[in-house]
């Protein structure tokens, strides 16, 4: 299935969870700090990363803090 991750379309296998997606971009969901995830403009809380299954066409944003005023 196709997911749009941070504006880039990527191919994932079916039943991919938020945690699977994070692992695919070298983020360990268990130890990750300072990161948040939005799915189709809604927050997915860290406690739900393991169970939240993504669907074809979903838009996922993975964000962190960067320099800014």
């Amino acid at each position: 299935m196709h997911l749009t991750v941070n504006g880039t379309e990527r191919q994932f296998k079916n039943e991919t969870t938020v945690s699977d997606l994070l692992r695919s971009i070298q983020i360990d969901p268990a130890s990750a700090r300072g990161i948040a995830v939005a799915l189709n403009d809604r927050i997915v809380r860290k406690a739900d990363w393991e169970s939240k299954v993504l669907s074809d066409g979903d838009r996922v944003e993975v964000v962190t803090a960067q320099q800014g005023g």
């Binding site: 941070n6 983020i27 990750a32 948040a36 944003e61 803090a65 960067q66 800014g68």
Partner: protein, 285 residues
């Protein structure tokens, strides 16, 4: 991202000494702060210079933006792990948001990522002036306050909008001195003074447009609780020196405000006594 120091960042050690006037604290939501200088993290020539500037500023709160992580390169040391080495609170912002909806999502992402209820709320109207869109700003502030955020609202220097933000329950109302990054200083000190005079229910911070130390001092002399500076420090030839200059300017301005300035007069008033001047004529009875 997995730096253990991030724990310290999220729950900093408030007992660290910082420069300030003894016993002169101010409040931001649940925080009691000594430093009245808030500093942005944007635009420094390199991370080392940024950290040196923060130390020189003695600031207790620094702003960050919320942005997509870099999917291609995960090797860079994260900003958070760098900031975790300084005794500062992190204030995430909603910079770059044009609507209340966008700003609310970014605020929620910031709360989730940084485990803080603080949000510097920015909702801008266009990308040339970066001036706030008051309509969207008020809408976002109302929703975020009711969702339990500690809202610090970046706003136009419009006394009516500022009063509305204060009455909505913002922890701080932060009128601009002049547009973001312009370095023009306080272009309308009259409005800023009016805002100070009319708002007492929350903290007031002058945000944006500060160009050099005297601008920060002037803002503090008007009775503002704090000043937020980014470009003036990060873009200075010597950011660490400018950070120290800002720290001292904020202290000087605060000291002057609490000391109480003399009123302005149209004509001179001699400071030396007029009586007993050499050569003056005195009449004896």
């Amino acid at each position: 991202m997995q730096d253990k120091n991030i724990d310290r960042l999220i729950k900093p050690d408030y007992s660290q000494p910082v420069a300030g006037i003894d016993g002169d604290f101010w409040h931001l939501g649940p925080l009691k702060l000594r430093s009245r200088l808030l500093v942005g993290t944007s635009g420094f020539p390199n991370p080392l210079t940024m950290m040196e500037a923060f130390t020189a500023s003695a600031s207790q709160m620094v702003t960050v933006a919320i942005r997509r992580i870099n999917l291609k390169d995960r090797s860079e040391e994260s900003l958070l792990s760098m900031l975790s080495k300084a005794p500062v609170h992190i204030l995430p912002n909603t910079a770059g948001c044009y609507t209340a909806k966008e700003a609310i999502l970014v605020a929620e992402l910031a709360r989730e990522a940084l485990e803080t209820d603080f949000i510097k709320l920015e909702v801008i109207g266009d990308d040339e002036t970066l001036l706030p869109d008051s309509e969207e700003l008020l809408k976002a502030a109302r929703e975020l306050v009711s969702a339990g955020f500690i809202v610090m609202a970046y706003t136009n220097d419009d006394p009516i909008v500022c009063k509305k933000l204060a009455s909505l329950g913002c922890a701080a109302v932060m009128p601009l001195a002049s547009p973001i990054g312009s370095g023009m200083g306080l272009v309308n000190p009259y409005n800023l003074e009016l805002i100070r005079d009319q708002i007492s229910e929350c903290s007031l911070v002058v945000d944006a447009g500060i160009g050099t130390a005297s601008d920060a001092a002037l803002a503090m002399e008007l009775g503002y609780d704090g000043v937020l500076v980014n470009s003036a420090i990060s873009g200075a030839k010597h950011p660490m020196k400018m950070a120290a200059a800002m720290r001292n300017a904020v202290l000087a301005g605060r000291f002057a405000f609490t000391a109480g300035r003399i009123p302005r007069r149209f004509y001179a008033r001699a400071s030396s006594p007029l009586e007993g001047r050499v050569g003056s004529v005195t009449q004896e009875n």
